[in-house]
C-alpha cells in the first residue's frame, strides 16, 4: 500500500503539516502517533500562554491542541494512535502497533517527532546517581496527566521556562521548592514566567550556581552548588532538571529527498505558534516535492 504522505508524530507540528497538506489537495495522508491521543506535549502543558500569536488568544496547551484536533476530525484526516515508528528506510516505514509490527510505503514522509530533554548525565559530574532525579518534562507529565507528585523538598536545576513552570506546578501541589539553580548569571526563562512562577510563590532563585555534587547513595539527599566561590549544600529528596531540549530525530539514518522534518524535530522553537507555522511551511515543501515527482 503506497501512501502519499505519512506524518510521524501527531503533536502541534504533525497536525499543522497534515492540515496544510490537505488544504493544498493532498488526499492520502496518515498520521502515526505513539501516544494514545493527538496533541503531543501540549496535553501536559496545562498552563496558559499558548496561541497569542496564531489565534490572538491566550490558551492553555490542551486548548491549543484541541483547536487542531477538531480540524483533523473535520477534515477526516486518518491517524493511528498507539502506533510507534521504529525505523524509516527510503519510502518504507517500520511501525509497531498494539497488534504487532507492520510496514508502510509512502511517497513522502514528515518527521514531526518533537524534542527530547537533555539529560542530566550530559553534565559531567562526579558522585553517585541515586534515585529521585527527574526531568522537568517527566515531572510535569506525572503531576498533570497522572496526578502523581513525587518528592517533598525539591531542587530545580535550570531556569528555562519549563523549569520555572514545573517549579510553580510543584508548589501548587504542596511541595517545597528549595530553589531554582541557574549556572548563568541571569535566569533564562521569560520575565513573565519569572514573575508568575517564581516571584509570586517566593521560590529562591540562585544564579551563577554550578552543580558540584549530588548527595545520597540510594536516594537523593541533597546537592552541593558552587555559588560566588563558595560551596553551599542544600538538602532535598528530589532533583528536577531542565537543561535544554534536543531535536528528536534519531529515526533519521539517511536524509533522503522524500524525508522532511517539521517543528521541534527540526529546531527548538520558543513558542508553539511558530511550530504550527513551520509545519505549514513544511507541508508546502512536501506539496511541491510530490508535484515535481509525480512519476516516481
Amino acid at each position: 500500500m503506497l501512501k502519499e504522505l505519512v506524518i510521524v508524530g501527531g503533536g502541534s507540528a504533525g497536525m499543522a503539516v497534515a492540515l496544510e497538506a490537505r488544504r493544498l489537495g493532498i488526499e492520502d495522508i496518515l498520521i502515526l502517533e505513539y501516544l494514545d491521543e493527538l496533541g503531543g506535549v501540549l496535553n501536559q502543558c496545562i498552563h496558559s500562554g499558548f496561541g497569542l500569536e496564531y489565534f490572538k488568544e491566550n490558551l492553555t496547551g490542551p486548548e491549543y491542541a484541541s483547536r487542531f484536533i477538531d480540524l483533523i476530525h473535520r477534515e477526516n484526516i486518518p491517524y493511528r494512535l498507539n502506533n510507534t515508528v521504529a525505523g524509516i528506510d527510503g519510502n518504507t516505514i517500520y511501525a509497531v502497533s498494539p497488534r504487532g509490527t507492520y510496514e508502510l510505503e509512502s511517497r513522502a514522509i514528515v518527521l514531526a517527532t518533537g524534542a527530547r530533554e537533555r539529560s542530566l548525565s550530559s553534565i559531567l559530574l562526579e558522585g553517585n546517581r541515586p534515585k529521585g532525579i527527574y526531568s522537568a518534562g517527566t515531572m510535569q507529565e506525572l503531576i498533570n496527566k497522572l496526578g502523581i507528585a513525587i518528592g517533598e523538598r525539591i531542587v530545580v536545576i535550570g531556569s528555562g521556562d519549563i523549569g520555572l513552570i514545573v517549579s510553580r506546578r510543584m508548589v501548587l501541589n504542596g511541595k517545597e521548592v528549595v530553589g531554582v539553580f541557574e549556572k548563568e548569571s541571569r535566569p533564562s526563562g521569560l520575565e513573565g514566567n519569572l514573575q508568575t512562577c517564581i516571584y509570586d510563590f517566593e521560590i529562591p532563585l540562585y544564579t551563577d550556581a554550578n552543580l558540584v555534587e549530588i548527595l545520597g547513595k540510594d536516594y537523593v539527599e541533597g546537592v552541593r552548588f558552587e555559588i560566588d566561590d563558595e560551596v553551599l549544600e542544600f538538602q532535598c529528596d528530589t532533583i528536577v532538571y531542565s537543561i535544554g531540549l534536543i531535536p528528536e530525530r534519531r529515526l533519521i539514518l539517511d536524509q533522503t529527498d522524500n524525508l522532511f522534518i517539521a517543528g521541534n524535530a527540526n529546531k527548538i522553537y520558543g513558542i508553539v505558534d511558530e511550530v504550527t507555522k513551520n509545519g505549514q511551511e513544511v507541508a508546502r515543501e512536501v506539496f511541491n516535492y510530490l508535484k515535481e515527482n509525480l512519476n516516481d
Binding site: 486548548e63 484541541s66 496526578g147 508568575t196
Partner: protein, 109 residues
C-alpha cells in the same frame, strides 16, 4: 487594569487584561504591572471517574488571588469529574465562594 509605570521616566501606560500585558516597552514594565495585581489564572487537573489513565485539565474562569491557591488545591483533592466533559464546560461552580468557576480545557469522551 491600566496603570502608569513608575520604573523609569518613560512612564509607559501598561494594561493587564486577563493576564495579557500590553503597552510595556521593557520587562521591568511587565514586572511592574504584574506585581500590582495579586490575582492570577489558576490551572490544574482533576481526577476523572473510572479512569486512572489521564486527568482532566481545567482553568479558572477569571483570575483568583494567589493566597487562595492552596485552598483550591485542597478543595479538589477528592474531586472527580464524570465523562463526557467538553472544552468550556464548567466542572466546579463558584470555587471557595469567589464567584469564579473552574472550566474544562479539554474534551474527554
Amino acid at each position: 487594569m491600566t496603570s502608569t509605570c513608575t520604573i523609569c521616566p518613560r512612564a509607559c501606560r501598561i494594561s493587564n487584561i486577563d493576564g495579557i500585558v500590553s503597552g510595556n516597552n521593557c520587562n521591568k514594565g511587565l514586572d511592574f504591572i504584574l506585581k500590582l495585581d495579586n490575582r492570577r489564572e489558576y490551572t490544574g487537573t482533576v481526577a476523572v471517574r473510572d479512569c486512572n489513565r489521564t486527568r482532566l485539565p481545567f482553568k479558572s474562569s477569571d483570575r483568583i488571588e494567589i493566597e487562595l491557591f492552596p485552598q483550591i488545591r485542597n478543595r479538589l483533592l477528592d474531586f472527580q469529574v464524570k465523562r463526557p466533559v467538553y472544552i468550556g464546560q464548567i466542572i466546579y461552580e463558584n470555587i471557595l465562594d469567589t464567584g469564579i468557576d473552574l472550566i474544562s480545557t479539554k474534551n474527554l469522551v
